[in-house]
């Protein structure tokens, strides 16, 4: 095989692997979320389909597949059809630059499950997140329904406001690592504090870490920031008019974004695949275990929050985003920059 062809084959295998795994994880997440929420509320949740209900996502998928596709008569047809596609596209674009687990050696080749190790990885994700707003806006507007329009407006304002805090929370991390490349940021954390876990950005950059997870929760519109789809006032917000598979696509985009946020948080703040204890191995299979544990605990916290917190009021949401998160990160960037400048003297 020529080198180009070989690269191409590796890329395609990686894409198939990552997308396939994400789709599997998405359906698993819907079931885990429902079960976990049910246990938190002293219910059982879906436990009838298959052992402990694990086949529930498949049953749901089949049900959605056979449902009628409804499109409002007054909808803007093309925009209505494009919105779910755009949602899934942007969600799947963002997953391309995050690393899934440590680098490993296979058949004499150094590989890493990461579709593209881009030079400006963090900025790329930021750019795609900025585009992610449009699927919501388009969906809200295209259905030609006042509830969806309000939902679309709300979410565009919310995502726009929290995107700023999200992006600013990365600045300190980038300054410490001196690179936009996500794998560099992971390795930079392992090099601090002699490999102990308190060298991770979650400790070194504690305020930024906090802001990241708050802003990311808002960005993927999870409780307590799920105002775009606030049931009691907006029916289901921007995706009220979607049914059947289009609804499933919207749902899929949401879950994939959530997984991306967790994977990115693991890489930027939790030391990626490193064990955090000197002497405990973190290469090869061990790395995957540490990495998987970190990602799944973040995902569990998202579910936990949903079972615990009430929803923000809209003005509180805006005030919190603009008057608390952004000033805090701005001050923190100043502190980090001073520290980096003094250290490089």
């Amino acid at each position: 095989m020529t080198p180009l062809l070989e690269e191409l084959v590796i890329a395609i295998v990686k894409i198939a692997l990552v997308v396939g795994a994400l789709l599997g994880l998405f359906s698993l997440m819907t079931w885990i979320e429902r079960r976990a929420l049910a246990f938190m509320q002293f219910r059982l949740g879906p436990n009838r389909t298959g052992p402990i209900g694990i086949l529930q996502p498949i049953a749901d998928g089949i049900k959605l597949f056979f449902k009628e596709e409804v499109m409002p008569a007054a909808a803007h047809k093309w925009a209505f059809l494009a919105a779910p596609v755009l949602a899934v596209t942007t969600a799947l674009l963002a997953v391309a630059v995050v690393p899934y687990g440590p680098p490993f050696t296979l058949l004499g080749r150094r590989l890493q499950i990461q579709i593209a190790d881009v030079d400006v990885g963090v900025l790329f994700i930021f750019a795609i997140a900025a585009l992610g707003v449009y699927s919501v806006v388009l969906a809200g507007w295209a259905a030609n329904n006042k509830f969806t329009l309000l939902g679309g407006l709300r979410s565009s304002a919310q995502m726009f406001s929290y995107e700023l805090a999200l992006g600013l929370s990365w600045v300190g991390v980038i300054m410490l690592a001196g690179s936009f490349r996500i794998t560099d940021i992971v390795d930079a954390q392992a090099g601090m504090a002699r490999g102990w876990f308190f060298g991770w950005n979650a400790f070194v950059q504690f305020p930024a870490c906090l802001v990241y997870f708050v802003a990311a929760t808002a960005e993927v519109a999870r409780i307590p920031f799920d105002l775009p789809e606030g049931e009691t006032e907006l029916v289901a917000g921007f995706h009220t008019e979607y049914s059947s598979m289009r609804f499933a696509l919207m749902q899929m985009a949401e879950y994939i974004n959530m997984i991306t946020v967790a994977v990115l948080g693991t890489s930027l703040f939790l030391g990626g695949w490193h064990s955090g204890i000197p002497g405990v191995p973190s290469d090869g299979l061990f790395g995957f275990v540490w990495w998987g544990l970190k990602v799944s605990s973040i995902l569990f916290v998202f579910i936990w929050l949903r079972g615990t917190l009430p929803r923000f009021r809209y003005d509180q949401l805006m005030r919190f985003g603009w008057k608390v998160l952004i000033p805090v990160t701005a001050v923190w960037i100043l502190i980090t920059a001073t520290g980096v400048a003094l250290a490089s003297r």
Binding site: V120, A127, I128, Y134, L138, G140, L149, S156, F160
Partner: protein, 163 residues
Amino acid sequence: MDAILFYVFGGLAVASAVVVIAQRNPMYSAFALILTLCSLSVVFALLGSPFIAALQVIVYAGAIMVLFLFVLMLLNVTREEDRPVRGGRTLRGVALALVVLLVLEVGTVLLRPEPATMPPFDSSTRRMAEVLFTPHFLYVFEATSVLILAALVGAVALAKKDF
């Protein structure tokens, strides 16, 4: 490979730019403009400047166009009515565009007789920062930010007429 990508995204940029002005529905125009900006960003990436490409999407496609759409949705702008195409006007417009193109082409040829080649340049993030934040361009850069701040203050003053 690069050439194919360039023609695909260059063509997409031009086609969607035409849609921006040809479309009567402002929402579709706005979305076509987003597509133009995104395809331009791919062209930047192909030119070897991923940093500019990312900024193009973040600032223009991400931030500015969201505000455009926000205003369009708040005002609930509907489709403008079709106006009959007037032959004379269209012809004059096309002629003017051709003249401008010709002038630009002639100007380019006159000013740069050697074949247009791109000088090798380092467009990495580090190099960009070095150019922007050294005394060479620092004052211009800071002056621009003051200018933007002035616009911001002006907008706040307009929105809040009674102090």
